[in-house]
Symmetry: C2
């Protein structure tokens, strides 16, 4: 297509609200248009990219026997009441009433719909295993949409659901899907995506993995071991702390600590090491506002996901009222009200003398020994891993913290949804069983933005040829020169006849600098320039967007050279 006909707007300046490169470049290049908070339209250039990504995803899902279906965006609430998620999910689930005051939700994921579609169908073990998937719009009312297409409220997602008659069969299929996902990211041009173990969160289930593109611009925190293959997202990362009989044993003493409301302030005031302090972090249960206190060593942060899993229900940071059974700033495990549920982190184990709140305004204990002073103490893992922490896999203190963008995820769901929604099949022995599910997601727009994040320079995206909006960007410098136009027009026709996707810039009123800047923003992997100067030497100039190729090619060989280069670039990615 001709660039002058392309519907899109390009800008010279980065948008002021863009904090990451992909967002800035995709707005500047006319890929997307802000419609509302976390809601965008896709211009034709981005739609070409997302269509190609969708095609790759479809091919790989079909290759592992996936069957494409379509679930609705809008679902009656009763479907979500069956699974229990109508009540358990927070405000990210949009709920509304239709004209008959009947309650509905907007799909943010489709486990319920998947079970509803197949629960009568799959009544015999002989029909298993199977996998169904869709590529469909979803809406998640995120509190803080950000980073352009990375965290939006409305998005296109491929979501797949597999059904099995045994955990073993699920694990087999899970592995197939794991491999299919690696092929998808490879074919989309970002083979560097890594998998990390993750927490299943509200999805239920046990084993799950996230596919992470490691980048400082990412919003997820990932824990990687420098010495072995261990990788986990922060939420799921196991924290190992060894305090073997650390510090002197002291007597328990209640001391005045006026105006010391943080653990750092207390330690400074008492001249105590923060590594021998017990920090309290307070939450409340969503259901009844009951207080939950997490105690961790003073230098650690609470891993809310691990805590939530322990509590077994949704929690939120506490709002400590005056009549609360705890005293903000002075909470400690010794003498704490029995109205409060508390958890003691592993990082506190083996410390002989702790500083801890005295549960009394203005006072702390020193010399607290948990095992000596408490009736009973049970240690749990509720702290976030730290840089240099001990790897739970190889045992070396070699954990590194990194940032990443989650570009896909796969879950072993178990029977959470089939049980709650009463989906059963008859097994070989004529017994009713609940099928075991897996689910597998990829956000299409986020993947496009992540590829841009991974592949760009200051001037624009460097799209991998497999998902680029066009394969060749053809520039006709001086289309008013009859010879130049003739050669460029001819090349445009010939390349298209060879099945090459060409964006053709034959604008007359545009300077070379603007032409090249636009080509950079559009990011087609191969650029071909026809100019009066080149034509004098009977050549055209062929360069790649990533600057690895820059050649003057004889006119009569240009077609062959370009199609060859295209083939080579595709093979470099696909093979």
């Amino acid at each position: 297509m001709k660039l002058k006909n392309l519907v899109s707007q390009r800008f010279k300046e980065n948008p002021s609200d863009a904090q990451i490169a992909s967002h800035a470049l995709m707005v500047r290049g006319g890929y997307m248009k802000y419609v509302g908070n976390g809601i965008f339209s896709e211009y034709p250039i981005l739609r070409r990219i997302t269509s190609k990504i969708e095609k790759i995803i479809r091919e790989e899902m079909n290759a592992i026997d996936g069957q494409e279906v379509l679930f609705p965006v809008v679902m009656p609430a009763d479907l979500w009441e069956e699974s229990g998620r109508y009540n358990s999910i927070g405000r990210e689930l949009v709920r509304f009433e239709d004209r008959n005051r009947s309650k509905h939700v907007l799909g943010m994921t489709h486990e319920e719909a998947a079970v509803q579609l197949v629960r009568e169908y799959a009544s015999s073990y002989q029909q298993y295993p199977f996998m169904i998937y869709q590529i469909q719009r979803k809406f998640r009312d995120e509190a803080r949409p950000r980073a352009g297409m990375i965290r939006v409220r409305e998005f296109t997602m491929k979501d797949a659901y597999s059904f099995h008659t045994s955990q073993e069969d699920l694990e087999d299929y899970y592995q197939k899907c794991y491999d299919a996902y690696n092929r998808i990211f490879k074919r989309a041009g970002i083979p560097e995506v890594v998998t990390v173990k993750s927490d299943s969160g509200m999805m239920g289930g046990s084993v799950s993995h996230e596919y992470m593109l490691l980048t400082a611009a990412g919003e997820d925190t990932i824990v990687l071991c420098k010495e072995c293959d261990y990788r986990s997202n922060m939420e799921a990362a196991e924290n190992t702390v060894i305090n073997e009989n650390a510090g002197e044993m002291e007597e328990l003493a209640c001391v005045e600590t006026p105006e010391c409301k943080t653990i750092e302030a207390v330690c400074e005031f008492l001249h105590k090491d923060i590594l021998a302090s017990c920090k309290a972090v307070v939450y409340q249960k969503n259901m009844d506002d009951a207080y939950v206190v997490a105690f961790v060593r003073g230098d650690y942060e609470v891993n809310e996901t691990k805590l939530r899993n322990l509590v077994g229900e949704e929690i939120h940071p506490a709002d400590i009222t005056e009549d609360a059974p705890i005293v903000a700033g002075y909470i400690g495990p010794y003498g704490i009200s029995d109205k409060v549920t508390y958890y003691v982190d592993l990082s506190l184990k083996g410390i002989n003398s702790l500083v801890a709140g005295a549960n009394k305004e203005g006072y702390h204990y020193t010399g607290l020994n948990l095992e000596r002073d408490l009736d009973k103490v049970e240690y749990v893992d509720i702290a976030k891993v730290q840089e240099g922490g001990i790897c739970p896999c190889c045992g070396k203190p070699s954990l590194a913290i990194s940032r990443g963008i989650e570009v896909g995820n796969i879950f072993q769901l178990g029977t959470k949804y089939t049980r709650s929604m009463k989906m059963q099949y008859m097994d070989k022995d004529n017994k009713l069983q609940y099928p075991i599910m897996g689910c597998y997601g990829i956000g299409v727009g986020r993947l496009a933005a992540s590829i841009c994040e991974a592949k760009h320079d200051d001037y624009g995206p460097i799209w991998p040829i497999t998902i680029a909006p066009w394969e060749v960007h053809l520039c006709c410098m001086r289309p008013d020169n009859e010879d130049v136009r003739k050669v460029a027009d001819g090349l445009y026709e010939d390349l298209q006849k060879q099945g090459v996707e060409v964006i053709y810039d034959d604008r007359t009123s545009v300077r070379a600098g603007e032409m090249f800047a636009d080509a950079d923003l559009i990011g087609a992997p191969i650029r071909v320039v026809v100019s009066p100067r080149n034509l004098k030497n009977n050549v055209v100039e062929v360069t790649t967007r990533d600057k690895s190729v820059k050649e003057s090619v004889a006119l009569d060989q240009a077609l062959e050279f370009i199609t060859g280069l295209k083939k080579q670039m595709i093979e470099a990615i696909e093979n």
Copy 2:
């Protein structure tokens, strides 16, 4: 794929709630699953069909220089406030608040989003014309979803928007799109679709056409002339009535008509011809509940669309209260309260003596002559056309009323949206102008169901090969017979290698009758049967779903015969 692995449920009985064949067959054949009122999931078999329809639509839209984009399903209300539709559209527009109490709507059409996407981009006349389109989910909160996929609340739609600098240019493009639509329906296997003039309704604009599949199961009423090319939907059909000085002139008289609440009852009671009666139909304006009375000849019905266009705002059937300025059952144009707006239909013109309500409980007038007795009378066209009515085009009394399903529509929108949303461009003379828009819609699921409605028999759909879920249905009768299985398996492999889409039924525990019943419900155009009996004669049986072909083909010629038949069937549709 193998039929035994296909995720879907087939039923022997028609569902009790299905009133039309496509609905019944598409439920029985496992194409769709009810999720909620007017909300369905698509099983793989239907998704294959809708994917093929989407592909045809994309090809034809691209062929007329359409550029694919994607608008969001969820839009902020302010976008719809700009166009005025946030308030003017009724309850079919879903409105909800997000977590920040910010108002949003679910897109039921995307004129606002289209203008928002391009209004900064298309600032110069040089960028025109252009057309953008999307294939996306939409939600319309229909009061009465019905007929399976024909009238649903959530649906996939292709909607296109074109932008022009002159009415002439719009009309040129409109014609291109008109032709593209005809190609789409032809390629989808229903070339018999006709176009009718239609009312633009809430879309605004003037000229518009609907593409109608004529079928008794349709929910739209269409007016066709048997003598000329005139076609219109009922809403837009011009009504011509000629009463030239009809009946005797009488004196106006107020007569008692006790208990006569309908015009039929009055005419019977007074022994008057209904063709000389004046019927009142009462509405109220949505905005302020003001009464609007439509007077038509006793045998006519009111065309609410034409009336609404005259009134210039939304109206609804009246709820006549006790303090209303009109008396239900006794309303007439003579002596009517000046608080009431009334319209007199053309069908009342030229009748010398009418029976009409006396605006007094229990009384009617006889001998009413509108032109003699009213101060002023203006006739308007607000009645529905009748069978045998006069064609506004050729003037003959040859109008026929037919039923149809609307499978697509195209509108000349004018500047309604560009004006209200302040989209302007600079013309050649440096003057700011509002672009002129066209818009063009096709419902994908409804089209699939309409094709089924047009092409089926009692046993299932007869899918046109261009959109069929599979091209060939291969039945292996007695897969336990080694020779049979070998031939069938071989054919399955070979056909797929030739690029033929095959659904392969090699189920062991299924009788021939069930196999064929399932094949009928799946509706693949070509059926190939490998059986012990056929193999004795070294043949396979090839039949078409529409029964036009039924041949025993020698084994060694089967592959060539089937691929040839496929090619021939495609060509018969596409050429």
